[in-house]
C-alpha cells in the first residue's frame, strides 16, 4: 500500500494537485504539475492550444488515471459537476426537456430540476427560451443551457471548460455575473479559457499551463498588470 504524503494546509484547499504527470500514447502531456485550489474561489487554468488543459481537467475529474502524483479533494469527490467544451444537447428537444432528460441521467429528481430552473434560468436569461427546441438556439443560448444543466446537481465544485467559447459579448457578461453569483453561494469554480480578458475579470487565481508544465500561478487579487501581456511574456520566456 502506498501512503500518500500529507499536503501542507490541505484543509484550506478544495482540490490539491501535487506533482501530477500523465503520458498518452507515449507523449508526456502533463509534466509534474502542482497547484492548489482554495475553497470558494474562481480558479482559472489558461494556456495555449495543446498545453494540456483538457487532459488536466480529465485527471482532476478522474476520467483519466494519474501516472504520477496525487490529486486530493477537500470535500466529497462526487460533489463535482463538469461542463465540457462542447454542448451535448438534444437538438430535437426543447430546453426544458433537455433539463429533465439530463436530470434523469444525472440522477436529479424533477423537484430539484424545477428548483434549479427557478433559481438560475432568469439569471441566465433563458426563461423565455426553455419552451423552444434547442436546434433554434444561438450558440450563446446553448452554452447557457449547458451551464444550467451543469448546475442541476447543486454540487459545491464546478469545473467549466471553455465556458464562453464562441459566445457573444452579451452572453459573456451574463455568464460572468452567473459565476459571481455562484461564488457568492459558496461554490468553488475551476474554469479554463482562451479569453484572457474575461479570465482577468472573474478569477481569483490563475495558473498558466504551457507544454504540460505549470509555468506560473498568479494571485489576481494582487496582480494589477495586463494578463494578456503577462501570458505572452511567460510564453516567450519559456520558449526562448
Amino acid at each position: 500500500m502506498i501512503l500518500k504524503p500529507a499536503i501542507p494546509h490541505a484543509d484550506k484547499y478544495v482540490i490539491s494537485v501535487e506533482a501530477v504527470s500523465k503520458a498518452l500514447q507515449g507523449n508526456e502531456i502533463i509534466k509534474n504539475v502542482s497547484f492548489h485550489i482554495p475553497f470558494n474561489s474562481i480558479y482559472a487554468i489558461i494556456g495555449p492550444n495543446g498545453a494540456g488543459k483538457t487532459t488536466l481537467l480529465r485527471l482532476i475529474t478522474r476520467l483519466l488515471p494519474l501516472d504520477q502524483g496525487y490529486i486530493r479533494y477537500g470535500v466529497d469527490e462526487q460533489a463535482v459537476s463538469v461542463l465540457l467544451e462542447n454542448d451535448y444537447l438534444f437538438e430535437a428537444k426543447t430546453g426544458i426537456d433537455n433539463l429533465r432528460d439530463f436530470g434523469i441521467y444525472l440522477g436529479v429528481d424533477s423537484a430539484q430540476v424545477e428548483s434549479a430552473v427557478t433559481r438560475y434560468a432568469g439569471l441566465l436569461q433563458l426563461n423565455s427560451a426553455l419552451g423552444r427546441k434547442v436546434a433554434n438556439y444561438s450558440k450563446g443560448m446553448k452554452r447557457k443551457l449547458s451551464l444550467l444543466i451543469t448546475l442541476l446537481r447543486g454540487t459545491d465544485i464546478l469545473i467549466l471548460d471553455e465556458l464562453t467559447s464562441g459566445v457573444d459579448s452579451e452572453s459573456r457578461m451574463v455568464m460572468r455575473a452567473m459565476l459571481q453569483q455562484l461564488k457568492a453561494e459558496g461554490k468553488t469554480i475551476v474554469i479554463t479559457s482562451h479569453d484572457l480578458a474575461e479570465v482577468q475579470k472573474v478569477s481569483d487565481w490563475i495558473t498558466i499551463l504551457v507544454d504540460g508544465c505549470n509555468a506560473e500561478v498568479i494571485n489576481n487579487a494582487t496582480f494589477d498588470g495586463d494578463l494578456e501581456k503577462r501570458f505572452f511574456d511567460t510564453l516567450e520566456e519559456l520558449r526562448s
Binding site: R58, L63, L64, V80, V82, L84, Y88, I104, Y105, R153
Partner: protein
C-alpha cells in the same frame, strides 16, 4: 417492470424515432406474411420448412433490429461525445453501459415478441396445425429461452464493443452487413437441405437451433467477461474522437 428511469427515457425516445418505427413495421409485416405463405405448404417437408423459417426469421429480425437499436442508443451517445459528459459528471461507466445494453435489448425483443404473438394468433384463428404444434412444443420453449439468453448476451457484447471502439460507426456498418449476410446464408442453407432431400424433423431442427444458440451464448459470455474488464473511464474517453 421496474425499469431505471434512463431505460424508460431511452425506450420512449427510440420508440418515437421514425427509423425505429419503420423498422418495427417492416420486421412485423414481412416475416408474418412469409410465415402465412409457407404455412399452407402440403409437402412432406412442410414441418421442417415452417420450423426452419420461423427460427431463422426470429434470429434475422433480432440482428436487424439490434443493429438499429445499438446504433440509436449506444453509437449515437458515443459519437456525439455525450458519454464523456455523463462520465465526467460521475456516472459509473459500468452502470451506464449496462443501462444502454438493457435499453437496446428491450427494444429488440419487443417487436420479436409481438411478431410471435401475431403468428400464434394467426395459427389459432386459422387452425394451422403445424404452427400450433410448433409453438406449444417443449423444443420451442427451449429455443425461446436460449434465444433470449443469446440475444441478451450479443446485445451486451455489441454495447461493450461500441463503447470501447474508436470507430463506433464502423460497428454499425458491420452489424448491418452481418444481418444481411446471415439471412442470405440461412436461406441458402435451408434451400440446400431441402434440395439434398436429407430433411430433419421439426423437433430436431428446433433442438439443434436452441443448442447452437446456447453454445454461442457461452462463447459470447466469455467475450463479455473479457470486455467488461477492459471497460474503464480511460478506455472509453480515449476511444472518443477528439
Amino acid at each position: 417492470m421496474n425499469l431505471h428511469p434512463v431505460n424508460r427515457l431511452n425506450l420512449k425516445d427510440v420508440m418515437r424515432s421514425p427509423s425505429y418505427l419503420s423498422m418495427a413495421v417492416v420486421v412485423l409485416l414481412v416475416p408474418l406474411q412469409s410465415v402465412i405463405q409457407i404455412s399452407y405448404g402440403r409437402s412432406d417437408s412442410a414441418g421442417f420448412t415452417v420450423a426452419y423459417t420461423l427460427l431463422i426469421l426470429n434470429i434475422s429480425v433480432y440482428f436487424l433490429v439490434n443493429m438499429l437499436t445499438v446504433s440509436l442508443i449506444v453509437i449515437s451517445e458515443k459519437s456525439t461525445g455525450r458519454c464523456e459528459y455523463y462520465l465526467a459528471n460521475k456516472l459509473e461507466v459500468q452502470r451506464l453501459t449496462s443501462i444502454y445494453s438493457l435499453s437496446s435489448h428491450l427494444l429488440c425483443i419487443g417487436p420479436i415478441v409481438i411478431l410471435n404473438i401475431l403468428i400464434m394468433g394467426y395459427a389459432l384463428m386459422m387452425e394451422q396445425k403445424i404452427l400450433q404444434e410448433l409453438y406449444f412444443s417443449t423444443s420451442f420453449v427451449y429455443f425461446a429461452i436460449t434465444f433470449l439468453l443469446f440475444t441478451r448476451c450479443v446485445t451486451s457484447v455489441m454495447t461493450l464493443v461500441s463503447m470501447l471502439s474508436t470507430t463506433p460507426e464502423r460497428i454499425r456498418t458491420i452489424l448491418s452487413v452481418g444481418s444481411v449476410l446471415f439471412m442470405f446464408a440461412a436461406t441458402l442453407t435451408g434451400t440446400l437441405i431441402n434440395t439434398l432431400g436429407f430433411i430433419p424433423g421439426r423437433s430436431t431442427v428446433i433442438w439443434t437451433f436452441g443448442s447452437s444458440l446456447l453454445l454461442l451464448t457461452l462463447l459470447c459470455a466469455l467475450v463479455q467477461h473479457v470486455l467488461k474488464k477492459r471497460l474503464t473511464n480511460e478506455a472509453v474517453i480515449l476511444s472518443c474522437r477528439q
